[in-house]
Assembly symmetry: none
Homo-oligomer: 254 residues x 2
DNA sequence: TGAAAATTGTGGAAATTCCAACAATTGCAT
DNA sequence: ATGCAATTGTTGGAATTTCCACAATTTTCA
């Protein structure tokens, strides 16, 4: 009965898709074969790259393709990562950190998770919370509010009221547009939360790539005097740079 | 040095994101602690839903929405959908609706998005918020709190305090176990939020499939007298049914 | 500061797994 | 039918893990 082996193999794989791990003894009992047989099955499937052994059992092989997360975040990813690294350098001494929403903020969150510890991150972005959450040495506090589907973050009165009652060392915000008037967001609801965040942090770091320079179709959520640091990936236009200087905003080009 | 434990925990999780499995002895050697300590770490992380044990080691917990779980969920998907439909029928007149977390709750959320309007949904689950959020006629309110990676939902004191200040017509909760004592959840943090939710709603609907019957390895978050309706997909065992009756819990078998 | 609680280490017995060599069985081709 | 190759079972000892109770240490808090 050569067929029985194949059958066992598929049964093993099936069992493995229902549970995160299986045990030699368990399967031997279940299939009515000896543990050695199961062991040999495992060896074979391991050679075939379908599973990987553990002491006493086996687990599903992790897809070599899905290994690192699929970064389909377009060409700007490298720039955003550079910006994020520089941003986190800037706030490395924080104990309480406010982070806004947006693609850049998520990159910052990844950096925070990878490099910081003993810190509390407060955010209204689902993506940021999830990104920081992988590090269990970092406490992630979610801000309440109305769910905003387009941004997957919370907004509105509850969010703002909640923010009134806390303090942070830094706030890190992205922007959908950066002009001489200040950073802004296309969505007024988000802008309002950003403003509230800024009022609760000792220092404010704005992170935005060069594509945001002089995009004004947005609601300004802060004035430059309130901003401590502006992190970007290319030298800003002359007028903008001048404005930053005159408002004593620290400029970081990553 | 209490910090060292948390540090170990994250290191374990980190190691687990790089490899499909880790071993007790290996980590003990690597961290310079005894195997018993690692074992205890595993126990704790298991309780927290972060990993699952194997003989001699541990593997990453299949988080909801991931590969293996998807397959197992698809087996129960039809049942969950039936349960969800019946549940939403039951609460169709709600204006403010509390929804908990878990796979069943997400199905309920989908039904709510598909069929209800002019209603406010309050939840602490990211997945539920996202599911309901597709319908722009439904307001989704997110509960604040500490982010719980395993469940992708918020927990802790902030969540509970927030709940104290609101009122809802119904609360819909899933359960990881349903016994004669009442519904329960494996994670104490989640159970605490569920309890808080129940105290704020006029009526309480518990939705759980038959696989949850008489699973007691969990923290009970409510007593039957507090429950208005129990929705499931098969007739419960006799004793459980009797308990429901004597507590005047409406039983719906979808 | 002192007591209670939490964390970690230790030691030994019991259970489990691993490994390798060998025997038994089965399928299949000649 | 015979023989070969593949598959599976068995066995025994070595290695590993688990479990439990208890001690040592550290942390917390009144």
């Amino acid at each position: 009965m050569r067929q029985e082996k194949r059958e066992r193999h598929t049964k093993i794989l099936t069992a493995l898709s229902g549970a995160s791990s299986v045990r030699v003894a368990e399967l031997a009992r279940q299939f009515g074969v000896s543990t050695e047989t199961i062991r040999r099955d495992f060896d074979e499937l391991t050679r075939g790259g379908q599973l990987s052994r553990t002491y006493g059992g086996a687990v599903r092989m992790l897809d070599p393709g899905h290994h690192g997360e699929v970064e389909r975040q377009s060409l700007l990813l490298a720039e955003r990562q550079r910006i994020a690294k520089a941003t986190v350098d800037e706030v490395a001494d924080a104990r309480i950190l406010l982070i806004g929403c947006g693609a850049t903020a998520v990159q910052v969150a990844r950096q925070v998770a990878a490099r910081l510890k003993d810190i509390t991150v407060v955010t209204h972005s689902f993506a940021v919370a999830a990104a920081v959450g992988v590090n269990h040495l970092v406490e992630v506090m979610m801000i309440p509010g109305l769910y905003h589907p387009a941004k997957a973050s919370t907004t509105g009165g509850h969010a703002i009221v909640f923010l009134q009652s806390l303090y942070a060392d830094y706030v890190i915000l992205g922007a959908s547009g950066v002009t001489q008037d200040g950073p802004g967001d296309t969505l007024p609801e988000i802008a309002a939360v950003n403003t509230a965040m800024m009022s609760r942090a000792a220092r404010c770091v704005i992170a935005a790539d060069q594509s945001k320079f002089n995009l004004s179709s947005s609601t300004r959520y802060a004035d430059w005097p309130q901003v401590s640091t502006f992190v970007t990936d290319a030298a800003p236009p002359a007028e903008l740079r001048k404005t930053l200087e005159s408002n004593r905003v620290k400029l970081l080009v990553a």
